[in-house]
């Protein structure tokens, strides 16, 4: 990038220490507007002045401001869950409940969902290998591939591929006919299905597409109180619900085309397994389950996920909150290498100061524990100093005056 270099050169000359994002922005503007050297000089002079004016002051209580900026719009949010923009078929928790879920760092979120993207490079490689030339054919191949992957991810049960399902009370068996067309339509593997059926049910006879299930043989014991008809019905349910394909923890999938691209949205989430699949874009494919991201991609990814999720939630409600506030919340939650919740089981419960913990929640517990542990409160925090009636160590209170003796 030649323009970044030229911008950097001017910056060095002017002794301006700009953050990366700002330099990139200037370089971008430099290119778009085709600035000459004089204009670039002037621009950087002005930005330098603006940047100096816009930098945070030392001692600024950024934490409180961030907390207020994230919390205050909460009153304006809705409580209900709505449809996801674009994918009307999936319900996703939004609004205040979702925001609370994020800051709580819940282990089990109410509506886990994934957005799965596909890797164009993988497609290109496949096209080359299989010598698919025409654009239309390539599109068809893509769609076929996407649908196949979607069916591999999404949960299908026997119920989805049945043609006929008969409960035969006379013979005490269940006659099932599998619909070959549906299998093909769902792009499933017939042999695999049969294997799964055989594994799940011992007393099954398979004759091409006709299957016959029998309930387990009544045991010879006297005290067997099982009612045969009930057993048969239970078996029927079991047969219908038998999962024949899909990734664990993922239910429904919805295929949609966003622009020129195929995207799969899922109900339920399993990032680890999906990332291992072929042809998936490992960079953009994501989930809204923050703990899963932490487990699979690490803490920095979790931090970014918190920022993204919180910001999407806010934006969806039409509220603008500066990223920096959300970043600070996310950084606080992830600062020690694991995702901690905001509240008594997380950050607030692990504070160093006894008084700070006692004045938040579970007053008695913290005071009693402090006494046998012989804890010492160094009174460096905000509430501690308010409690004992001293100025707080933030902002104006964070500086002192030293007099020079003459």
């Amino acid at each position: 990038m030649p323009d970044i270099k030229s911008v950097m050169k001017v910056l060095k000359k002017k002794k301006a220490d700009f953050p990366e994002s700002l330099i990139e922005e200037i370089a971008d503007a430099h290119e778009r507007h085709n600035l000459d050297d004089k204009e670039l000089n002037e621009l950087i002079d002005r930005i330098k002045k603006a940047y100096e004016r816009a930098t945070v002051e030392d001692g600024e209580a950024v934490g409180t401001v961030a907390a207020q900026s994230v919390g205050e719009p909460g009153t304006q949010m809705t409580m209900r869950t709505f449809h996801y923009a674009g994918v009307a078929e999936l319900n996703v928790t939004l609004g205040l409940p979702r925001l609370i879920e994020i800051v709580d760092a819940r282990k089990k979120i109410s509506t886990p969902t994934m957005a799965i993207y596909f890797d164009d490079e993988y497609f290109d490689a496949r096209f080359e290998k299989e010598e698919i030339e025409s654009e239309a054919e390539r599109e068809r191949f893509k769609e076929e591939f996407v649908r196949k992957t979607a069916n591999m991810i999404g949960k299908s049960s026997m119920n989805d591929i049945l043609k006929n399902f008969n409960l035969n009370y006379a013979d005490m068996n269940i006659a099932v006919e599998i619909d070959e067309d549906k299998i093909i339509d769902k792009r499933l593997d017939r042999d695999d299905i049969i294997k799964r059926i055989e594994k799940a049910f011992k007393r099954v006879q398979i004759d091409n597409n006709m299957l016959s299930f029998e309930p387990p043989a009544p045991s010879k014991k006297e005290d067997d109180t099982k009612i045969p008809i009930r057993e048969l019905r239970l078996l029927a349910d079991k047969v219908r619900d038998l999962q024949i394909s899909g990734v664990k923890n993922i239910g429904k999938v919805v295929i949609s085309k966003e622009g020129l691209e195929w995207v799969i949205h899922t109900e339920g989430s399993n990032l680890g397994s999906v990332l291992k699949m072929e042809g998936i874009d490992k960079v953009r494919t994501t989930t809204n389950d923050i703990h899963e991201i932490e487990k699979i991609l690490g803490i920095e990814a979790a931090r970014n996920a918190i920022i993204r999720e919180a910001q999407n939630t806010m934006e969806e409600q039409g509220l603008t909150v500066d990223v920096r506030h959300i970043m600070l919340v996310a950084d606080m939650m992830t600062a020690d290498g694991s995702v901690k919740s905001i509240g008594r089981h997380g950050i607030s419960g692990e504070k160093a100061s006894v008084l700070a913990r006692a004045s938040f929640e579970e007053t008695g517990k913290h005071l009693l524990r402090a006494s046998i542990r012989g804890e010492i409160d160094h009174l460096t925090g905000i509430i501690e100093n308010i409690i004992i009636g001293q100025p707080i160590p933030l902002g104006t209170g964070s500086v002192g005056v030293i007099m020079k003796r003459r």
């Binding site: 204009e39 930098t55 900026s69 909460g74 500066d322 920096r324 009693l368 046998i372 409160d377």
Partner: protein, 870 residues
Amino acid sequence: MKGILKKIAQINFGLMSPEDIRKMSVTKIVTPDTYDEDGYPIEAGLMDPRLGVIDPGLKCRSCGSKGGDCQGHFGHINIARPVIHVGFADTIHKILRSTCKECARVLLTDAEIIDYKDRIGNMVKNEESITNIIKEIYTVARRDKCPHCETEQEDIKIDKPVSIVEGNYKLTASEVRERLEKIPEEDHILLGVNSKVAKPEWMVLTVLPVPPVTVRPSITLETGERSEDDLTHKLVDILRINQRLKENMEAGAPQLIVEDLWELLQYHVTTYFDNEASGVPPARHRSGRPLKTLAQRLKGKEGRFRSNLSGKRVNFSARTVISPDPNISINEVGVPEMIAKEVTVPIYVTPWNIEEMKKFINNGPKVHPGANYVERPDGRKVRVYPETKDAIIEKLEPGFRVERHLIDGDIVLFNRQPSLHRMSMMAHEVRVLPHKTFRLNLCVCPPYNADFDGDEMNMHIFQTEESRAEAKSLMRVQEHILSPRFGGPIIGGIHDHISGAYLLTRESSVFEEDEVFQILMRAKIPLPKPKGESWSGKEIFSLLLPEDMNMVYRAEICRRCDECLKQECKNDAYVVIEDGNLKSGVIDDRAFGSFAGKILDSVVKEYGTDKAREFLDSATKLAISGIMKKGFTTSTDDEEIPQEAKERIEELLSKAEERVEILIEAYTNEELEALPGRSLEETLEMKIMQVLGEARDKSGELAEKYFDINKNHAVVMALTGARGSMLNLTQIAACVGQQSVRGGRIERGYSERTLPHFKKGELGAKARGFVHSSYKTGLDPLEFFFHAMGGREGLVDTAIRTAQSGYMQRRLVNALQDLSVRPDGTVRDNRGVIIQTMYGEDKVDPAKSDYGKVVDIDRVIDEIRIKSGK
């Protein structure tokens, strides 16, 4: 002058040993009675005079200081048999479980002991919490066999709240205490007990401290009856049982009776500490109200911590109803004279202000710019009375402090609850005004979220010069025009300011010169040179704009046409400002409204807060003068549409309802195709909702066509963003639309139907809460009912939401409040742990940024190019 205050460096926590308690005590308490027949406190009773005095006239028998100065002194009760402290019951249980019943060592191998001690030592050195590692030890040390003496261990259980059971044998408190005593000191730390300040056996009480009377004052009722504090009641119970237990033990009573009495004593001591402990019925007052004992005094929102330590009651504050005053500046607050005479500002007398101060004192406490108190250099405070004022004036000299009334220009703090963000507390300048309400400029309503339907607000008066200086530079209203949440203006014009500015600046507004000067005079704007011809409204507004201002944006009334005609826009929505002249476009919400004002935003950022305040003050005043010149009213006429339109809307709606019927028929005939991943029912619902939604929108659009912004003031308000929306208007004029409960059509009520007026299973539009009428024609009873259902849900929703988001915010603030930016640019908490290496990754303060960016680079480039000759 007050002496230099000492700074508290740290607070150490620890347990008190029985010796400590006895040493601290001034007397042993034995008698459960409090006062004798004459009403004097009994010696060695709970109200023993040595425990301190409350009466201001009396002197303390222990320390000699007067009531009020004496903080009180502890006494003690010797407990006949040990009792367990409820708060520590769990800890005691865990410690016993982790130690050997024979040799009392921790049930850890020697290797483990060394390892854990090492780890704990490190953590203590780093001042980390050892709670987790202690928890780990408690689980590891739960062994069946002691690694030190090979004794088989029995399982120890806790029977809530305080009974500890080993195997099948219930340990008495004395036995528990003996076991705890036996634990060697070097093992203490492994059990989470810091041997420097606590011993495990101290968790079993043998002596009980009795708090001084100042902690549990008795109240004398008007009838002369004495009412004791809850704690005193509890202590009386403890003493009574303790006495009986002692007597019985001395008399050699049967084991069973002693056991029972001990249990009772344990109960009383337990509830004395915590009356909400699980597994204990709470001790009650005679009236049946549960007693408020020690734990309850500290706990929760009304407890000592949250209501007396983290938040405190203050002097020099005032509260009253607020009302609007468009004539004062946004920086000001109107203070009723009554309040101004009550709350005071302390002023040090100097040679330069002594004459002024004398005038204040001469006015006395009852005449407005007066003074209430004078404090002499020795700290004595004298109240100013009309009779004494002359004597005070005589003695007044530099070094005195005069508490004078609030006067115009004083800086005060103004606040409206809930204080959700920092703009909920801002510093204002005082304007003393007649009448009894606080007056505020309408532009500051959005940050406080205030309206005038009876809202009250609080005012606090700064008492030190430092606080005034700090408030003036950091907290003044004009410093908060930009919100730190998104870097845009949060203070700005509302309601009539917006409609007024629109009426003034729209194309058709032309004024004769005399009218212009009337408007300007009224708005207190410096008069320009007469130009001898009529003025356009845009020219009038341009008088307020800075001379070198250039900007282009789309106004709120912009209809977002497919192709923008720019300056030729027929709505006049394309705003162009060139060199401080409004060339085209109208002034509306996007110009100087709160949350949206582009011009206001740019004035703050380019010209500073002083200019912004001036701009906002004069712009709003101009708008008000404009609206008063033009006249502005609305009535139901504004929502009237011609008969022909009504018929078309009717037709549209019945067509939609027909389509719904068709959909339902398709569904019953099983012809409906399900959407992917949805059931048939869901698909039907979605489709019906879509059809009805469309019908409402279309009927709205139809009605909109008859709304003319040039003739209709309701539309002016909706389109300029002053108040209301087009949706509100179309609901009044055309069709209210679908009512919803839980995000869908109304389903609840009777079995399989919403109301008995419908058939079971009916799915039609009307049967599921579609309101076909408009507000103006009126709703029929069924529609009204469904409308009320939707309305109620909204109310419930809001109530729950405020509670939930309030708690979320409390947690957020609590978690983040210790963070600050350090001189090295990092963000750290109070321990010095780095949270961010550079604030926000670019060190930019969002409150000072341009919607999150340092600057709008494109605009800067444009400016540079314009300056260098385009």
